[in-house]
Each structure stands twice: as C-alpha cells, then as structure tokens.
Symmetry: C2
Subunit: 201 residues, 2 copies
DNA sequence: TGTACATCAGTGAACGCGCGTTCACTGATGTAC
DNA sequence: TGTACATCAGTGAACGCGCGTTCACTGATGTAC
C-alpha cells in the first residue's frame, strides 16, 4: 500500500485528515492545503476529488449525519423498552455523539454548509436524522405515552433541547458555571427526563 | 468630526465595523485588516486598541452578553405578570436577541472566545446572563410556580432549549423542514410553553 | 495665557507566510482488440 | 495472453492575493510650569 503512486482511497484519507485538523486546531484551521499536507499528498491532489473546500466540508457533514443516525439507531435498539424509552435514547445519543465526535459535530453545523439545499446527499442525510426523531415521537404518541399535539412541534422542542445542550457543552459555556457535574451523557439523561415531563399526554 | 486626524472613538468604530462584516460575510471573514478597512482607517491603527483579533472579538462578545442581558431585563419588565411570566419572557428574549442581532450572537458563541476565563470582563458579562435566568427560576420557585428541584439544573434545561432553538434557527437547519412557520418569537413562545409544562411543581 | 515637551493615535511602506488556483508533467490503471 | 492507447490520479513549480506584524514617521492631544 505504502509507496504506491496512486493512493488507493484518497477521498477517505482527506476526510480523515480534515477531521484530525478540526479536532486538533479547530475548524477555522481547515484548509485544502493543510488537509493535503496531513494526508501526506501534494497540495493539488485533493482537487481531483473535491472541487473546493466547501465540497470536502459538505462530504464530511453528510457523513457526520449518517454516523449520527447510526449511533441513534444503535442506542435506541439497545434501549429495548417502550417507545418513550427509545425516544429518550435517541435524544441522549444526540448529545453523546456530539461529545464523542466533536469534529464531525462542528463540521455538521458550520455556517459554510448550512444551506444543504445545494447538496442532495447532505440534505438527505440531515433529513434522515430528523425523520428518526419524528418517527420515534409518532410511535410514542400511538402508544399513548406522549401528548397528541403536532409531532413536528414536539420534535422541535426535543431537538432544540438536545442540540442546545450539545452546543453549550462544545462551546465550553458550562465549564465555569458549576453545571458540568458528571459526564455529558448523564446530563443529557437528566434533560430528557425533565423534557418528557412536559410531553406527557 | 470628519477629516480629523484622530478618530474620536476608534474602538467603537472597529467593533461596529466587525459586526457589519460578520453580518455581511460571516464571522470567518472577520480579519483585523478587513475591520480597519471597513472603519476607514489604516490597517495598523487597530493595534493601538486591540492587541490582536481575539482581543477585539472578546470585546464584541462581552458587549453582546451585556446587550442580551439588557434585552432580557427589558422584556421581563414589560411582561409584568407572575414570576413565571417573567421567566418565560427571559427565554423568549434570548431567541429574539439571536434573531435581531445575529452578528453579536455568532460572536458570543464562537470557539475563539469560548475560554472566557482569560478575560474577566467577558466572564462577568456571560455570567450575568446566566444569573438573570437563575434568579427568575428561584423567584418562580419561591412563588410555587416551578418545581423545587435544583434551580441550576432547571436553568440548564431552559437555557439548552432556548439556545438550541436559536442555534438551529441561525444555522438554517429549520428552513427546509417545514418548521419555520411564523416568526422566531412565536416559535420561542411555543417552546417555552411546552418547556414549562415540564417544570410544574 | 502661553510655551515646551511628552505622550498618544494613526500613517504608509515593507516583510514573510500560507492560501487557492493553474499548469504541464508523469506514473498508474483500465480497456479494446 | 499481449499490446496499444485512453483515462485517471498525483506531482511540483509558479502565480497573485490578503493576511499579521514590524517599523520609522507625523499629526494631535494633554500637561507642567
């Protein structure tokens, strides 16, 4: 593998290099040249696979949404309880993902890729995450565990709460306020608990 | 005023120029040279007032937290109802501020200024916003309108929900999901409504 | 009130650096026959 | 199975640009006497 002229899977290596840069130096330090350097390839090589930095960034974001959905499905399956338990597991998985994969998370919600309408793959990946939440709510409603109000509105409440916690955690806003007792997952569990009290039928 | 060699209040002008750049081209486009250009001053002039871009950025963030607190106090006062009403007004004001002053909001929660411990002014401004929320919760608890659980935990739930909604709105995540019916303030009102159902005694 | 002097605030030229982009190139891979 | 050829993937030099930083400078302001 090593020493080959052709890389084998340069797109993969570029995505990984970009994630390493985001994790180490922040997303502001992500440049095409820097990514190429980290992947051990000449600076012009990435252009054969990604037209510009935004294209690479969109690919990372789409992959991030897919991984998030996978993580949520896995944790929901593992929960194995009622529809409400699975709903809750999805919320906790969201925060857990943000903490485990901060580089992906930052990439996913960066302004540069905010307009996902220009990229069908990205739009689909992001949409799938929301649909997962929506389905969980509808199932919980069908089982009478959640109020029968507009499921989209309930999804927005749940999403906002989990996204807000994840964002505050990642931006270090909770570090100096005595709020960060225990790990993020426990904190998320507390929040979903509280949240669900407001979603009772 | 115009034509003078000395500017009069260059720090003020630099902050305003930076905010204009953030609003027009995004926070990634904020550079010391660009800010100086926009303020109509030579590129080395800002160094007499801000040691580097981070110092300017921190000043903007601190000012943003102060303005947010002011907006929240004003809306809480205007609410004039029960302690719960004032609590709710504080939450709605948070989202309202993010929508009215996106440039400040982006600056306030940017990773570059995340570690507020290095800047006492910034730390105090950010802390005051959280204290405002905490006080509102304690008052509502004293009046028996909110459950007597740990007020810091309740504050975190409320903050996460409002911050999450604000962040999702600003990142354009709600634009293509049929969630953005009506304005942000109405949306925030709906969310606080739902949130408070979970905070009942 | 006036003068001398120190300090402050902004200028403009210069520097080195990393960036994106372009280009002709070359080695590796895939395909037609 | 072998050969010829087209396409693909990565190289390395070159370019212009905007950036932060440094520097000697000069005009404006404040203060001591």
């Amino acid at each position: 593998m090593a020493g080959r002229y052709h890389h084998g899977d340069l797109p993969r290596a570029l995505v990984d290099a970009a994630l390493a840069i985001i994790a180490d130096e922040g997303i502001g330090a992500m440049t095409l040249r820097g990514v190429a350097r980290r992947a051990g390839v000449s600076h012009a090589a990435p252009l054969h696979h990604f037209r510009d930095l935004e294209a690479l960034h969109r690919a990372i974001a789409a992959e991030g949404f897919e991984k998030l959905a996978g993580h949520q499905r896995a944790m929901a399956e593992h929960a194995k309880g009622s529809a409400l338990d699975r709903f809750r597991a999805i919320g906790i998985a969201y925060v857990d993902f943000a903490e485990r994969e901060p580089a992906y998370f930052r990439a996913m919600f960066h302004p540069r890729v905010a307009d996902s309408s220009v990229d069908p793959t990205l739009a689909a990946s992001a949409g799938a995450v929301f649909d997962l939440l929506l389905d969980a709510i509808r199932t919980a409603q069908a089982e009478g565990q959640v109020t029968a109000d507009d499921p989209k509105e309930l999804a927005l409440v749940a999403w906002s709460t989990m996204h807000g916690l994840a964002a505050l955690l990642m931006d270090g806003q909770l570090d100096h306020k005595g709020l960060l007792r225990g790990d993020a997952r426990k904190l998320a569990a507390k929040l979903t608990n509280r949240l669900f009290l407001g979603l009772r039928p």
